[in-house]
Amino acid sequence: MTSDSKTIDNKVSTETNTDSENSYKKSLVGFFEDITLLTKFSLRFFKEVFKPPYEFNELVRQSYLIGYKSFPLVAITGFIMGLVLTIQSRPTLAEFGAESWLPAMVAVSIIREIGPVITALIFAGKVGSGIGAELASMKVTEQIDAMEVSGINPFKFLVITRVLSSTLMLPLLVIVADTIAMYGAYIGVNLKGDVTFQLFFSQVFEKLDFSDVFPAMIKTFFFGFSIAMISCYKGYNSNKGTEGVGESANSAVVIGSLSIFILDMIAVQITSLFL
């Protein structure tokens, strides 16, 4: 290799390094900008949520769309979750001769952790992407601007109603999913055993207590809030035409799902401090 070609190679490699450094810096700045704007967006929610007029009818409509319409999906997921967890756990417990612990173990796992997290992830996929795409599409077709110029506050009508519905509906869906998951677990136990319905649930309730149920329920309010808030933020601030609609739906699901794990980690730390 000649010295000239070595110099060119070095130059190219330096330029590539500088480019990747710049793009790294750019995405880091973008990340912090996004966090700041999302915080501002959330603060606006708290500022406007108590101020009249209240969009009660739209809140009910959104609760129907977000909650009731998600019921079949959540029910199926819950059933499979309970059934599969029971089938997968049985061999390990059987090794230690602890098969009789199966109902209690499955119940604690589902109620404390798996039920809320899996339901929230399903919810982020279905509801989060829907909100992100819907608001982004409204933004690019000037529907949000049209609301604004007709003197209606689009933030109240679109964001507050969706965030409130999502915050209220997810805990209900988690209760539904947990309940159906327990029925799935009961069937799972009986695939290779013979446990009566009454015995199964008496074992479940014997081992479950307030400290299992209460923190798990509280965190689902935060999951619902963060999924809807992130989705609304992404959709409401979409600005790249039709490409932006897909991007908003996608990032609503990705960031919404990530937020579930982060919130779950925080919730577990807080719970372990008090209980």
Partner: protein, 247 residues
Amino acid sequence: METIVAEVENLKKGFGSNKVLNGLTIKVKEGENLVVLGRSGSGKSVLIKCLVGLIEPDEGNIVLLGESITDLEIDALNLLRKKIGFLFQSAALYDSMTVRENLEFPLRGNKELKREEIDSLVEEALKNVGLSEAIDKMPSELSGGMRKRVGLARTLILKPKIIFYDEPTTGLDPITSEEISLLILDIQKKYNTSSIIITHDMECARITANRMIIIKDGISIAEGKFEELEKSKDEWVRSFFKSKNEN
């Protein structure tokens, strides 16, 4: 003495290094249709969005119906917006709602109106744009011209004193364009509204304009009636009309 309903003074707006409006000044009299003409990217849509507070100007003052919108709080601005109509280029109909719901939407929050009054307002607005039969249709079932008409009906439902039209005939065939232009004229006469019409459709300008201004590089470079500007000595101004005559 003629009443001024909209006044823009020394309006400046830029996006980064791109200065779109560079000190634009315009006045609209009561009952007047003012057509704003300019090439694509000359700042016409930015002007109209600044007028309703969708874009915040960098400098300058905007007074609508005697109120300076740059000084208004959001609640006061929303009250003022109820007296102003805006027809978007895409009509911006709410696609999850029927035509009836679209028209009822600006009326929400008005607790004084009874159900029957709302129904009669919706029917009247649709009748005025000749689309009574479309009341229960979804926006996706309407043609481009029909969507514009429904957009206009939604604007009319609040009986605005000023209407802003953002390229009302864009994307329409010549016959539908003419129908929309005549409708704008009809609404002006019927409701005595004042309008700012952003367009580069010369036929629409000819039909609707009481007065016109032409924007270049973010400032008004010519002002007058259609016939006066058509005979302008400025070659650039005349070029707009030349294309129309060629068509």
